[in-house]
């Protein structure tokens, strides 16, 4: 019996017996997991274990993959994300996402941040929102004098923080991060990690990572997935120092994966 923690406090996101199929392959196998409000939860596991797929269920990005099929439930604040009548577009505004490779739009820094608020009908002062979002993403000081220059001129780490600022600008409640630092150098990685620590004041953060040190540094709770199954889920400290499952121990001590 896998040891899955029932996390304390309010549950923001929850999967109940959630399965995802890509055509005939079974990528996530009946996973049940609760993600507490304003905490950082890390999904770890070897490549192909289903951690990114599970993450994408929570903002319905799997909808965009032809042949993807979902069984079971994914809940956000108790409501089924896949219930009929739920609009994926609105789900994605409230549950933001940052991708593995920085993907700024080939537009100005300002327009990158302002795009989401514009399409979502933001009625406040745009300049203030852009500044606030860039400050939250710890990028403002570096770009405040060149908001009109192309986002593509930024370094990789800056681009990724811009993508985070862009996600924050639509005022989501949850931030999903799919290996957000795996394409970055150690210094840029550290900035992202510091930022994640800041973000949990206001947001629930779910981060998929290959890097176990990173999971240990930034997360409150860690889930270990293997071949589509959730093997172990618990407080990060405990999972890394005193894993209950043999497979977890094998993975975190580097015996496979």
């Amino acid at each position: 019996m896998p040891s899955i923690m029932q996390p304390p406090g309010e549950i923001e996101l929850e999967a109940k017996e959630l399965s995802v199929y890509y055509g005939s392959s079974h990528a996530v196998k009946g996973v049940s997991i609760g993600i507490p409000d304003r905490k950082v939860v890390a999904f770890i596991g070897p490549s192909g274990c289903g951690k990114s797929t599970l993450l994408r269920c929570f903002n319905r990005m799997n909808d965009l993959i032809p042949g993807a099929r979902i069984e079971g439930q994914a809940l956000f604040q108790g409501d089924d994300l896949y219930a009929p009548g739920v609009d994926a577009v609105e789900v994605r505004r409230r549950i933001g996402m940052v991708f593995q490779k920085p993907n700024p739009f080939p537009k100005s820094i300002y327009d990158n941040v302002a795009f989401g608020p514009r399409i979502n009908g933001y009625r406040g002062k745009m300049d203030e929102l852009v500044e606030r979002s860039l400050r939250h993403a710890a990028l403002w000081e570096e770009v405040k004098d060149r908001l009109d220059s192309s986002a593509l001129a930024l370094s990789g780490g800056q681009q990724q923080r811009l993508c985070i600022a862009r996600a924050l600008a639509v005022e989501p409640e949850v931030l999903l991060m799919d290996e957000p630092a795996s394409a970055l150098d150690p210094i840029a990685t550290q900035k992202i990690e510091d930022l994640i620590y800041e973000l949990k004041q206001n947001y629930t953060v779910v981060i998929v990572t290959h890097n176990m040190q990173q999971a240990a540094r930034v997360s409150d709770y860690t889930a270990f997935l293997y071949m589509g199954d959730l093997i172990e889920y618990g407080p990060t400290q405990q999972l890394f120092t005193n894993p209950r499952e043999e497979q977890t121990e094998a993975y975190i001590t580097g015996r496979f994966g």
């Binding site: 577009v89 994605r92 505004r93 993907n103 996600a167």
Partner: protein, 299 residues
């Protein structure tokens, strides 16, 4: 260069024959071949240009541009053909651009990947290879006869629009496909709808490529004579078309007509008309490049 191998696998196995000289020579030879391929095209183009400029430059004048055709080479002008070509080009562009780009967007962004879509795709590719005279027959049957437009600018322009539609569709599809999927996902993740993603992210990025393809296709349309002869564009038009329903001619047909005449004087007139056509094409392509650069620089 020819340093003895050291270190590595216990001093190296000595089994490598790196043939540095040969490999470098092959590289240089390839570059020379590519240069020669380029040179062939440039030389022929230059010969063609020199030839028509030598024959026709003397006949270029404002009187030639504003004159009507005539039985006498010295008095023949190109105005009706020039205006006819501009009319045709304008209507062809207005019809083919929205239809072509719309089709490309649907095929790339909306159409499900099923047998029906693939069938359409294959047929568009095939249509791009159909001889232009066949489009002329179609235009004659549909626009001139069935819709009863008559042998007018509109019928000609619609025929040319059909002719270049496959090329516009295919090049626009290429441009849309070249937009990285990460850009689409980024927009969706911010709560953009599909339409907003296409309008604000995909199309602006694809636009330079779309414009390039469209302009190349339009250049081809401007140079076409065969399908327009088929639908009944006239060879001798002593009036300027004022509406799309007027009878007309275009520069390539005018050139064809002049070249077929026995008098040597008309050959000079034909060369002069070719120069006008070339300048028109050059202007068209130049505009396209300017437009494209402006859109590209905005990023």
């Amino acid at each position: 260069m020819n340093r003895p191998q050291q270190g590595g696998l216990a001093g190296g196995t000595g089994l490598f024959n790196t043939r540095q000289q040969t490999r470098k020579r092959m590289g240089s030879a390839f570059a020379v071949l590519c240069f020669l391929a380029t040179a062939v095209g440039i030389v022929f183009l230059a010969v063609l240009l020199i030839d028509i400029v030598r024959d026709g430059a003397g006949r270029l004048s404002s009187a030639f541009l504003s004159g009507m055709p005539s039985r006498f080479p010295a008095r023949a002008g190109i105005k009706p053909a020039l205006v006819g070509s501009l009319w045709t080009l304008g209507i062809t562009a207005l019809v083919s651009f929205p239809l072509g780009v719309g089709t490309a967007i649907w095929l790339e962004e909306y159409a499900p990947n099923n047998r029906f879509t693939r069938l359409i795709q294959t047929n568009i590719a095939n249509l791009a290879g159909v001889p232009s005279i066949v489009y002329g027959i179609l235009g004659l049957a549909v626009f001139v006869r069935l819709f009863a437009f008559g042998e007018c600018v509109l019928a000609g322009a619609l025929t040319l629009a059909l002719l270049i539609l496959p090329v516009i569709i295919i090049s626009s599809q290429e441009a849309i496909r070249a937009v990285p999927n990460s850009i689409r996902l980024g927009a969706y993740a911010l709560g953009a709808t599909r339409w907003e993603t296409i309008r604000d992210q995909v199309l602006p990025l694809a636009l330079p490529g779309v414009l390039t393809g469209t302009i190349l296709a339009l250049s081809r349309a401007v140079g076409e004579a065969a399908p327009l002869i088929m639908i009944g564009a006239l060879a001798f038009v002593p009036f300027v078309p004022k509406t799309p329903l007027d009878e007309f001619t275009v520069i390539p047909i005018q050139i064809f007509d002049w070249i077929n005449r026995p008098q040597a004087g008309f050959h000079e007139v034909a060369a002069a008309a070719s120069i006008v056509l070339l300048i028109a094409l050059l202007t068209l392509n130049g505009t396209a490049i300017l437009l494209r650069n402006r859109f590209s620089r905005k990023r």
